[in-house]
Symmetry: C2
Subunit: 106 residues, 2 copies
């Protein structure tokens, strides 16, 4: 469900984790603590939420758990927005223009 994806990204810490992974690529859980003043258990649980929402995935390397963003997750969000943009952008732009025009007239 789309809203689970949004809910997972709706927390400031989780959003920061995802952005860090997007910018720096695959990282172990320990390195993700740098996103804020937060304990390892808290990070771990946030990672679980993101994983269950399908936004990140885990790879085990020795005693480290490596995390990375699932490309499909970002793509899905883009497609959701794009779906409405494609079909509605033009009419929305026309509506916006009309409202602006209306404002100018008044």
């Amino acid at each position: 469900m789309m809203h689970d994806t949004f809910a997972a990204l709706g927390d400031a810490t989780r959003f920061a984790i995802v952005e860090k992974l997007l910018n720096e690529g695959e990282l172990p859980a320990g390195n993700l603590q740098e996103v804020g003043t937060i304990s390892p258990p808290a990070i771990s649980r946030h990672l679980k939420v993101l994983r269950e929402a399908g936004i990140i995935e885990q790879r085990i390397d020795k005693q480290r758990r490596m995390y990375s963003v699932r490309p499909q997750a970002v793509r899905t969000i883009g497609e959701w927005a794009m779906n409405y943009q494609e079909f509605w952008q033009k009419s929305l732009d026309r509506l916006e223009a009309a409202l602006l025009q209306e404002g100018n007239d008044a």
Copy 2:
């Protein structure tokens, strides 16, 4: 902040409200109750959250409050995803392909 936008869309009821507005255009608060079995006060507060997140806007028409999606909000989400897609999609695709190939080899 981006994560406030996601947080607002992370609730099932609010997500349904936004989808209804995207599909049907501007609607009064009363009509948005149809998204589920929920009381008018609950809907009203969800609308407030969406409004404060900049996702919807309100227009007053007589005794009715008309709500609609702000085009820029959808665009912003699309652009966030697109920003990462544009810069990372190719390398991510390459990574995916490499992992698949690795899987085939094993």
